[in-house]
Amino acid sequence: MTDTTALPGGYQLVVGLEVHVELHTATKLFCGCPNRFGDDPNTNVCPVCLGLPGSMPVLNERALELAMRLGRALHCEVRPSIFARKNYFYPDMPKDYQVSQYDQPTNVDGHLDLPDGTRIGIERAHIEEDTGKSTHVGGGGRIHDAAYSLVDYNRCGVPLVEIVSRPDFRTSEQAKAYVNELRAILVATGVSDAKMEEGSLRVDANVSVHQPGTPLGTRCEIKNINSVRSLGRAIEYEARRQIDLLDSGERVIQQTRHWNEDDGRTHTLRSKEEAEDYRYFPEPDLVPLVPTATDVDAIDAALPALPAAQRTALAEASGRTLPDETITIVVDRGLDQLALAAVAAGADADRTLTHLQHDLDPGQAANVPAEQLAELVRMETAGELTASQAKQVLAEMGEAGGEPRAIAAARGFEAMDSSELEAQVDDAIAANADAWAKVLGGESKAQGAIIGHVMKATRGQADGRALNEILQRRIASS
């Protein structure tokens, strides 16, 4: 783990993150058009999201509910709020203003605890509408050299929550951990599918450096970061760039910079002709939101267990002192409930976790009831299925559903009973007498010959664990 707390020259890194997430709703924020990724351009549009003259917004109740749910999951205070207009001209914004929340956002003053215990402050999590998408034609798709641009408004008006952290990050690792943890929370709460590759989760980083004990440095906002990995790289690069400037006696200019994945650098964007003056004012076409205490209680009551708690629970259930990589992955894949239920139903924790880490598509989890998963693991533990057979059966359960026992039978997975396996071992020892002698002489890796013989003879159908137990028993008793 690279620790950038101590940057060259004793500089201290200071980072804040702005994360935009698309809410998991059926329709857009202010109109009934589908909130769907990947459809033909401009097929999910209406007068409202096209900003046609005379159209008016009406708030999606589900979007508001999900926004408040996220706020509570981030320990925010849910406040009375209003929408405002942020005025600026841009072709992917049909009204030439964005309806967002400005001085009275829905969620304020929360926090998120990183797995390592670091607490990151959340300044606000406000609701706003997404913009359309522009394609720049010619000039290799680079905006400034393009011959012209084409605009698709399908994404325009999709509900977003913008989560603004406090500048509490001191290492790039913390920033990456934050995004991973936030993603796990979004999945666990059903607020968003949080797919960075599809743009339903987008991260901008405000990066600055300073000497500890001195005022904060000038920050630069880094945009166009499209993976957690590039988030780390972008922060590290930008920190070094600013340090080089300062060390060579120059100063950092506050600006927005673009992360370029290919050359691994950040670049300045052409500055706009006019300094921004967004002329925020209360959106007169929308009315104030005043959530009651009962509303908030209902949201809290409906909150599922959050990833941190689930990791601890899984650690206990599997006899670990601390959550490990496997547990973290199972939680990030949203399979933690299933894991806990299967273990509660008597399944071996380690085998269960291993399967859920590798062998089940989270999208298919609904097809696999905890009891059936537990039954599968039990069959495996009892030696009725080999690990690889169990893996195949689970895959089929995920795709089509069904009883593990029935699927195993249908596939002819009849793991041999132990007497047959004993016989196989006898043959193997007879055929590899000298290897066996070495084994008994304490040369345990000579077991390979015996095991190889059995596996060959049984075309891999023998259960490795069971075979190993037999061998150990015989070694001990000889």
């Binding site: 401009n42 841009y90 673009h258």
Partner: protein, 101 residues
């Protein structure tokens, strides 16, 4: 006039913000006219109303929402038929300088 409520530069600035181009003559005319209108508004400007809350909605309503249900969209051809320029089912615009803020 020294204490004019709006200067020629102010007018040039707001014209840029509003994406309007003014000739020098227009700039002079508008500066004079806006100054006299804002001059008339001096009575309001002078009021001390810090303890009076602002009204942005004349009729007080709260928590107006709609169910999260899909409604029919517009026909793309009908929409693009209204566009000054389109291509491949999208709205076509000249090159865009600068990123969105």
């Amino acid at each position: 006039m020294a204490d004019a409520p709006i200067s020629r530069d102010d007018v040039a600035h707001v014209a840029r913000l509003a994406r309007l181009t003014l000739t020098d003559d227009e700039l002079d005319t508008f500066t004079g006219q806006l100054a006299s209108i804002l001059g008339h508004a001096a009575d309001v400007e002078a009021l001390d109303l810090d303890d009076v809350p602002p009204t942005s909605h004349p009729y007080p309503l709260q928590n107006v929402t709609r169910p999260d249900e899909v409604r029919p969209c517009l026909d793309r051809d009908e929409v693009l038929a209204q566009a000054p320029a389109s291509e491949d089912g999208m709205f076509r615009v000249p090159p865009v300088l600068g990123e969105a803020p």
